[in-house]
Amino acid sequence: MTGHTEMLGATMVLKALADQGVDVVFGYPGGAVLPIYDELFKQNRVRHILVRHEQAAVHAAEGYARSTGKVGVVLVTSGPGATNAVTGLTDALMDSIPIVCLTGQVPTHLIGNDAFQEADTTGITRPCTKHNYLVKRIEDLSRTLHEAFYVARSGRPGPVVVDLPKDVQQTRGPYLGPEQVEHRSYRPQTEPDPAKIAEAVDMMMAAKRPLFYCGGGVVNSGRKASELLTRLVHMTGFPCTLTLMGLGAFPASDKQFLGMLGMHGTYEANLAMHGCDVMINIGARFDDRVTGKIAAFSPGSKKIHVDIDPSSINKNVRVDLGIVGDATSVLEALIAEWKRRDARADGKALDRWWRQIEEWRARDCLRYQQSETLIKPQYALQRLYDAIKDRDAYVTTEVGQHQMWAAQFLKFEQPHRWMTSGGLGTMGYGLPAAIGVQIAHPESLVIDVAGEASILMNIQELSTARQFNLPVKLFILNNQWMGMVRQWQELLHGGRYSESYTASLPDFVKLAEAFGATGLRATKPQDVDGVIARMIETKGPVVVDVCVDQKENCFPMIPSGAAHNEMLLGPGDEAKKPISEEGMVLV
C-alpha cells in the first residue's frame, strides 16, 4: 500500500468529485463554501453551472441525472443556501433521483451558537434526503464523499446531503480514493429470489386478463431494463400501461401500450387496471394518483409487485407476490424462466381480453372539441409532438393541466426523455430541469412544457440559460389561470374560483427579451405551427407564449376518492357523478 495523499479539505472535495466521474456541478456560492469555490477556480476538470436560485440548482441536477442516469451534483452555501435547496431535495426523494448535494456549514466550533448563516442542515434535511452527513473531522471527509455517491445511486436512488463546515474545508488531511472506501452496512438487494420468479411465471401463465403496470423504477434501472420490459411484453402478448414517471420505459407507439394510467390516465388503461386478473407491477409504487380509492382498486386481481425498495411492497396495497430486486435483474430472470418453460399465455382468454380492451380504446378518451378561433392546449401539444417526434428531443414540464396534457399527447419511445415532477408536483421544476438536461445533451432539442403560473416560480433561470448559451425552449400554455386549481374549484367547490386567476401576468415576449432570449407568441390556431417551427429553428433560449383556451379542462379524470371505473370522460360527465365527501378531503 502506498501512503495516503495529504491535501486540503476543499481540494479533496474537487478531487473526490473528479474521481467519481463528475463533470458538472450546479451551484451558488456563499461565505461557507468559499474555500471550495476557490479550488473550483484553480482546476478545469469539473465545470460549474451558476444558477440563480439554489432550488433551481437541485432541479437542474435532477434533469441532468434523469436524462443521463448519472448522479447529479449540487453545491450551495450554508443557511439560506441549504434551506433554498430543500424543495429540490424533497422532489428528488419523492421521484428517486440520485443527487449529491454539498452544503457549506459554519465552522465546527460555532455550530450550535446561532452563528451567521447557520442552519441545522442535517436536521432540516433528514426527512427529505435518503441519507445525510455532517463531516466534523477531515479524516472522515473523503470516505464520506465517496459513500454519499454510493448511497445516492445504489438501491432505490435518492438525494444525499453532505454538510461541510468551513474549518474542515481548510484543514489538511489524508485522501482516500473511491476504491478504498466500502460502506459498513448499506447493501441493497438487487437479485431476486428465484423461487418467486418461478411463482410469478406460474401466475402469468394462468392469467386470463393480465396487465403490466410499470413505473419509474424501470427507467431508473437503466436503458437495458426498458429493452427487457419491451421484450417481455412482446413475448407474453400482454397489455402494458405506464405511470407518469415511467413514460418511455415502453414505446408509446407499440400497439400493446394502453397509455398512461391514473387520475388523468386513459380510459383503456384504467379500466384494464380495474378489470385485470393478474397485475404485474414493475417499479411502480401504487401511488394514490394511480390507485384512486384503495378499497375499490383492481378488486379481482392477483398482484405481483417488483420493487428494489422492500418498504414499497405492501405499503398501500396488499399484494399476492412481492419480489425485491432491481428491475433489470428481475426482468432478465422472468424472461429466462418464461423461455425455459417455453411458456405460452392462455391464447383464447387473452384474445377475449384484447377485444375488450379494444372496445375501451375505441372510446377515444383523449378526444377534444377543436376550435376555429381558440387554441386548444391539446391541439398545441399535438402540433408540438408532430414537430419533434423525429428529432432528438427531451421534454420537461412544470405542474398543472399542461403537465397532464403533455403526458397524454407527447409520446415517448425511449426512457430518459421525459422529466416531470411526479411525486412532489413541484411548480417551477421544468425550466431548471431543462437546463440540466441541456447541459448533459448540448446538441439536443430540450423543451419545457410550462404553465404561465408555474414558469414564474423559477423564471430567473432564463438568466442561467443565457449565460451558458443553453438553447432551452419554454413552451408556455398560457391560460391565465392556475388551470388545475381552477378545474378542481369548478368540479369540487361550486365554481368559486378563489385566487386561481393570475392578474397582472407579465408580457412573456418582453420578459424573454429582457433576459436576452427570443420571445414568440401564438394567439390563433393558425399561428401554432409557425411558432413551433420558429421556436425550433431559433438559436438560443426561446420563450413561446401560446395563448390557449382559458376554460379547457383536463380529461379523462378520476375524481379523488373515486374508483377507476368511475372516471369522468368529458365535460358532459361532470353533473352525473357528484364527488363523494371522502373524496373532498383528499388532495
Binding site: 436536521g123 452496512s185 396488499r318
Partner: protein, 168 residues
Amino acid sequence: METRIERHTICVLVDNEAGVLARVIGLFSGRGYNIESLTVAEVEKSQRLSRITVVTTGTPMIIEQIKAQLSRLVPVHKVSDLTIEGPHLERELALVKVAGTGEKRVESLRIADIFRARVVDWTIESFVFEMTGSTEKLDAFINLMQPLGLVDVSRTGVVAIARGPEPL
C-alpha cells in the same frame, strides 16, 4: 383490510453515529407510527454499534411497514421482530419514589418485598425502590404504590433479547 392492532417488540442494530436516533424517531413521527417505548445504548464499543429496542403497536400491515422502513435507513445493520421470531425476554427497570409515614410506609415496604423490589434510597419519610421485570409487573407494582404515597417514577422502557444461544 386487517385492522387488528398488535404490539411488537423490535430490536434494531445501528451504527452509533450522530443523528441515528433522530432518524429512527423521525421515521416514527413522520409516518405516524406509535412508539410505546424506546431504549438505546451502545452495545459494541469496538465496532461502534448501538442497539435500539422499540415497542410499537399497529395493524400487521403497519408493523411490516415499520420494519421495512427501519431496514432501509442507511446506518441500520439489522432489524429483528422479537415478537414473531420466537421466545424472548423483555425487561424494564423502574425507580419508584414513595413518600409517607406510619402504616402506609410499612405497607409499601411489604409490597416491595413481595415484588422483589430493592430499597436504594431512604429517608425518614420516603423510599426509592428499584425494580426490574416485565412491563406488566412494573405497572402492577406502581399501581399498588399509588395509594401508599407514590410521588415519582422513572422507567427505562423495554430492553429485550431472544432466548437461546443465537445472537441478534
